[in-house]
Amino acid sequence: MRIPILKLHDYLLISVQVELDDQTALQFQEDVLEKIHEEGSRGVVIDLTSVEMIDSFIAKVLGDVVDMSNLMGAKVVLTGIQPAVAITLIDMGIVLDEVPTALDLEQGLERLQLELEG
């Protein structure tokens, strides 16, 4: 299964709408990096509004995508993390610090713009 990645000017927009199995998550990681390289994207918004569960593996994959994209010179913002997901992650002791987040896609794009201009 592949997660579609949309291009909007200098940005990539991704809305994760499928139940993430390990393989899909790893494929997604690779696809995002390839797409950044291909399009010369400066920023990426990954919207997680439809994601009902993030376990330690998926959290690691997401954190790695952020770090890997940073290495390539692109900023990533995670948006739309559900209350239940946020509570579960903190319960588990998983802290995605240094990962930029925003409430929704719109605010995510604003945050990217600020980070890239500032």
Binding site: E19, Q23, E52, D55, S56, A84, T88, M92, G93, I94
Partner: protein, 133 residues
Amino acid sequence: MQVQTHVDIHSEWGIVAARQAGRKLAREIGFGSVDQARITTAISELARNIYLYANRGQIKIEEVTASGKRGIKIIAVDEGPGIKDLRRVMEDGFTTSGGLGAGLPGVKRLMDDFNLHSELNEGTTITATKWLR
């Protein structure tokens, strides 16, 4: 007879199947969305451990009642190599697979009751229960 589901874990798809079965039963029992996420995440961690370390095993999910309370019980069983260092495996950040090391201590915190039994070269059984409040 109370509801019981068995999911065989021998591929990554088993992890997803166990997760979905757990969420369905948790919802039926009446758990809210936050507890549903906790239960589903705990199942995901236990199923992945089976797949990573024992290659195959089983996740059993059942409804339980005790002193008037309803709950959901997850039993993860494998006949894998067993856990060498039981104390370290419950430490935050300890990992032998390159993961975050949040798995088992995380499951313990997500659920209300947690029990781990492991014999070297024989296998591991982990039982975790969440009670409806």
